[in-house]
């Protein structure tokens, strides 16, 4: 097996007395798609928050391509190539589609005060090339959306907002993409459309690793090669979807004993 891109070992997170993640071991290889499932409160989003530096681990290690993520700020983790979407879409709703995508492109833009105030012709070139790039990226998801780059993100439906969020996460060409329940709040039809989009992204970017949290089992079955099941902060099963679905412990966690 090739060297894992993301490698968690014994990773633990506590909130006061509550153990949100309990000595979790998890590996994600380069170019792999891992599905992360488990009942509510099982620690899936907490894992994303630790990997992206929003929460701090109480114990264990998380390594991203050899770098220890512990003690790294969210900003540095982003610069290393990890991006994400949020469970409850956290777009800047009053800002335009373009603005939202550009927030994700932070590490490719020039932020000097002098540059931005007084070197307007250079800024203009940077703006135009990034507009073309953002438009092309958004167009791979929806041509209609790409035609409305300067409309407020809040003016769009749930599925379009999710697309904008995924574009925000993809525009900086990350190596690891964390998708936190991309189907939340969408109809079955919309979910299917979004998964088509994701698979299309995947075929264009074979090197991209993805971890996807999902409650929709058919999404997991369709998109992921492998999946891990969490319960009360522990990993209770890992393997292909068929293996995991047949697992006795997983059935208990989801359906209860009996």
């Amino acid at each position: 097996m090739s060297e894992a891109l993301l490698c968690c070992s014994g990773l633990s997170v506590r909130f006061g007395g509550l153990v949100a993640l309990d000595a979790l071991d998890l590996e994600v290889g380069s170019g792999a798609i891992l599905g992360l499932i488990g009942p509510n409160g099982s620690g899936k989003t907490t894992l994303f928050n630790v990997i992206t530096g929003v929460y701090r681990a109480a114990g264990g290690r998380a390594q991203f391509s050899g770098q220890d993520l512990a003690g790294m700020t969210p900003q540095r983790i982003y610069a290393a190539g990890v991006t994400r979407t949020f469970q409850r879409s956290r777009l800047a709703l009053p800002l335009s589609v373009f603005d939202n995508v550009m927030i994700g492109n932070h590490r490719r833009l020039h932020h000097g005060l002098w540059f931005n105030l007084f070197r307007r012709s250079e800024l203009r070139r940077e703006f135009e090339s990034n507009l073309a790039k953002a438009r092309a990226l958004v167009a791979t998801f929806s041509a209609r959306l790409a035609g409305r780059m300067f409309d407020a993100a809040g003016a769009f439906s749930m599925i379009d907002r999710r697309r904008i969020e995924i574009c925000r996460a993809l525009v900086s060409e990350p190596r690891l993409l964390l998708l936190d329940e991309p189907s939340a709040g969408m109809t079955h039809e919309e979910t299917r459309e979004l998964m088509d989009d994701l698979l299309a992204v995947r075929s264009r970017l074979p090197g991209l690793s993805i971890v996807i949290i999902e409650h929709e089992m058919n999404v997991i079955e369709r998109v992921c090669e492998r999946c891990a099941v969490l319960n009360y902060g522990r990993k209770i099963a890992e393997g292909s979807y068929a293996q995991v679905a047949a697992d006795r412990q997983v059935q208990i966690a989801y359906l209860g004993t009996e």
Partner: protein
């Protein structure tokens, strides 16, 4: 879309402003206020305001020329009247300060209820350095000192959010006022005299021909306001403006996409205080004195209300709201204390009708045509 509706509206506004500034009796003033309160919603209902806006957006050059012409005509009309010129200069200088506040809480979301304290830092700089240092430099130092004094507040502001950060600035504003009040070197409660402005040998307190000497301050105030306006607009239409918005709207999401939240809050807070300090230094030179009572919490609230009334983050809203907030109470003098009641009601009515402010901030266009 022709430029005509836009130009006509600017002319109408200038005419209205002229009547308002000229009105002597309370009946006239109240009549004009009532006309606006009734007339503006009617114009909005029939779509005239939207037409004006699209017309002005489509013809920026015409819009700018018409605004300059309207302003020049107003100055020419009232050139020898101290009161009107003082009002115009005050509106220009308050606009500079409020553009600073726009950077702070309009864009970065850093609240500042100590605006008057930063005006005060500028004002006292003028009083102390005025007799010794060239005044162009005094303005600059006033801004720099305000930015420096503001840096004391940065640490507590970065560590708190929302109401708590607001409360810290409130406390700082009160602290500043008490500090100058008990400080005898700064004149104590009586304050200090400030020399009139002298820019490169141009004595602003000696009038040009038959103009009011305040007209000189109108020119300087307008120049400062124009510079502040251009800077704020350019900042907004850049990646820096985008970062500030991202920080205001969602700090966690901003951090996850590499945006250094603290850096941009510090930048906005410092630049905003710099603007406010410059405005305070110039204002003190115009009025000729500084005293603790000019820099109360109430004065800070006036600055905040200008920004909110104009429309949070709206650069064009600032001068318009500054005009209303500064001039309306002055014109209602005869109502004595009741004027604040009427004025407060006016502000409430405006904000009920237009919660997004008089001129809502438009979506960011990095390079508008």
């Amino acid at each position: 879309m022709s430029a005509l509706p836009g130009i006509a509206s600017i002319a109408a506004m200038a005419l209205y402003a002229a009547f308002f500034l000229h009105a002597e009796s309370q009946a006239q003033v109240l009549g004009l206020v009532a006309l606006a309160v009734v007339g503006v919603p009617v114009l909005a209902r029939v779509g005239w305001i939207a037409r004006t806006a699209t017309s002005l957006e489509a013809h920026p050059l015409a819009a700018r020329s018409a605004s300059v012409a309207a302003l020049a005509a107003t100055i020419a009309l009232f050139h020898d009247q101290h009161f009107v010129m003082l009002m115009l200069a005050s509106v220009a200088l308050y606009s500079v300060a409020c553009l600073g506040l726009t950077l702070q809480f309009g864009y970065a979301g850093v609240v500042n209820f100590a605006g008057a304290a930063f005006l005060g830092v500028g004002g006292y700089t003028s009083a102390v350095l005025g007799p010794h240092v060239p005044h162009a430099l005094v303005l600059l130092i006033g801004g720099l000192l305000a930015a420096l004094v503001g840096s004391i507040l940065i640490l507590p502001i970065l560590r708190t959010r929302g109401h708590y950060a607001a409360l810290i600035t409130v406390a700082f504003g009160i602290l500043f006022r008490s500090f100058v009040e008990v400080n005898d070197a700064l004149g104590g409660p009586q304050g200090l005299q400030v020399k009139g402005m002298n820019l490169f040998g141009w004595e602003l307190n000696s009038p040009l021909r038959d103009l009011s000497f305040y007209a000189n301050y109108v020119f300087v105030g307008l120049a400062l306001a124009a510079a502040a306006f251009v800077l704020v607009r350019r900042l907004e239409r850049s990646w820096v403006g985008l970062n500030l918005d991202a920080v205001r709207l969602d700090e966690t999401a901003a951090a996850v996409f590499g945006i250094d939240v603290a850096r941009w809050k510090i930048l906005a807070f410092t630049c905003g205080n710099f603007f406010t300090g410059i405005a305070g230094a110039a204002y003190a030179m115009m009025t000729g004195f500084v005293a603790p009572n000019s820099f109360t919490f109430g004065d800070s609230l006036i600055l905040v209300s200008i920004v909110l009334l104009g429309g949070l983050g709206s650069a064009w809203g600032v001068p318009l709201a500054a005009g209303i907030v500064l001039i309306v109470p002055e014109k209602l003098q005869a109502l004595q204390e009741y004027r604040f009641l009427l004025y407060a009601m006016l502000v409430i009515v405006i904000l009920l009708a237009r919660p997004q402010g008089l001129i809502a901030r438009p979506a960011r266009e990095y390079f508008p045509k």
